[in-house]
Amino acid sequence: MSLSGVGIGLRRPHFDALADTQRQIDWLEVIAENYVGVDGSARRILDVCRERWPVAPHGVSASLGGPTPLDESWARACGALTRLLDAPFYTEHACWSALDGWYSHDLLPLPFNEAAAEHLGRRARAFAQYAERPLLLENVTYYATMPGSRWSEGQFLSHALAVADAGLLLDVNNVYVNAVNHDEDPLAVLEALPLSRVRQIHVAGHRREGDLLLDDHGSAVSAPVVALLEAAILRVGAVPVLLEWDHGVPPLDVLLDEADRLRAIVDAALSTRALATQPLIANAPHGTTRDA
């Protein structure tokens, strides 16, 4: 099963409306922690959804960059979910989130240095081996540069993904939020990331709180993030895009309106990209244009 277009996250407030909707939904993303080892209602709605749409898993708790020993059984369970959904890859975050049996339930940044990138990359590679599925790692927000950082985020992720042999789940909203919070140019931050590894894109809303932009997934995608999404599509081409909206979740129709808006933007960017890369006269015999 392949993913394409603009998907949405499967969220409980939409369970009823999803069953009835006839609107376009390109694919659904599920939070793995809500479905691994779970029976009951959540599992039933998952079964209903996968009959109608491609569904892909996204994890939030593997703590791939963390100090706690990697949970092999969790990785295997995530792999089993990925196979059940027939999804092309499992996705997680380039961060840490657990310490000595305590879970932060927040995605915590790592110091940008070689040791942390190696550590993250090795554990991500091991996770993918246990899961027996390809892995994508998502760039996370960092509201502070962690002490011990000696690299840029782009250097850090490039090294970690190379060690892991993993793809990049490019969160465009995180790129924008990080750039603003650290007084950097969003496009420059984007271009410094290992874009050749991008296999999927996330977009979401954010809000300002004091001196920071917070990645809260609580609103429509802002104009600067839409512009950055266009820039990303022009550079990486057609990859599946996922609209995240987790706080103040709107009615399904509002969410799908936003997905429609983003789909039109992505399609336009792909058309522009196709025009820019297309030869002036396709399949012209060598020398024809010069002779004409």
């Binding site: 039933r44 915590l108 040791a115 002490p147 011990g148």
Partner: protein, 239 residues
């Protein structure tokens, strides 16, 4: 790796305990973003845990806010100070909170504030609803039976968006069946009579047939009661 190990140990104090990051800065240097930004992660993590609790217990939070000014914040903060987050799913925080709240010494651990008896019962009922919704196995298959000293069902059915209409749980012993809702895919509740509780205990294998008869429940009454209850049990009893 030594530096990375130190980072996790010292940043762990920031995110788990709300440390100000001075130790981290002294050992690994100041963040380019400033120490205050690093320390902010303690507050961000705390918010995640508060949100997990308050999403799980909307009625408990609302009724405590209505009837016991400030008690929810006292309970919440006392719980969060224990730094217990045992599961990769945020519901683990809430399930562990219910266990803590039901401990006999919890009142003394929250600055001598008296915790009403119905508070841990409301929490327990919310946990049962969650466990039924996710299909967690029980002696009845998926459905669960709870025994309470208060009429917590009426309160749990309150509309939390209208706090003044939340019914304070009355002191009234009650048995509650929590069972799968095939329409909303969540969990429903219904009151149980003493006979129904006894029959379910027999169905779960906790009581044998002769004991039921000693309670005055004949085989025809047992079977008729079970026939009425069976649609609510959702799935067959786990062998």
């Amino acid at each position: 790796m030594r530096e990375l190990d130190d980072f996790f140990a010292l940043m762990g104090k920031v995110v788990r305990e709300g440390d100000d990051g001075a130790g981290l800065a002294a050992h690994l240097g100041e963040s380019r973003s400033g120490r205050a930004r690093v320390a902010r992660y303690g507050e961000l993590v705390r918010r995640q845990h508060v949100e997990a609790l308050e999403n799980f217990y909307p009625v408990l939070v609302a009724v405590l806010a209505c009837e016991h000014d400030g008690l929810w914040a006292v309970l919440r903060d006392a719980w969060l100070a224990l730094h217990i987050s045992p599961s990769r799913h945020p519901s683990g925080i809430s399930l562990a909170f219910a266990q803590w709240l039901s401990a006999p010494d919890v009142s003394s651990s929250v600055a001598q504030r008296s915790v009403p008896l119905w508070a841990p019962e409301l929490a327990e009922l919310a946990c049962m609803q969650y466990q039924v919704a996710i299909g967690s196995p029980s002696p009845l298959g998926v459905a669960r039976v709870g025994s309470f000293t208060h009429d917590v069902i009426a309160t749990l059915r309150s509309n939390v968006s209208v706090p003044r209409r939340i019914a304070l749980p009355r002191s009234q012993p009650s048995y509650v069946l929590v069972f799968p809702d095939t329409v909303t895919l969540g969990a429903r509740t219904s009151r149980l009579s003493a006979i129904e509780v006894a029959v379910l205990a027999w169905f779960a294998g906790e009581v044998d047939g002769p004991m039921l008869e000693q309670l005055g429940i004949s085989v025809p009454l047992r079977d008729a009661t079970l026939t009425q209850l069976r649609p609510k049990l959702g799935v067959a009893r786990v062998a």
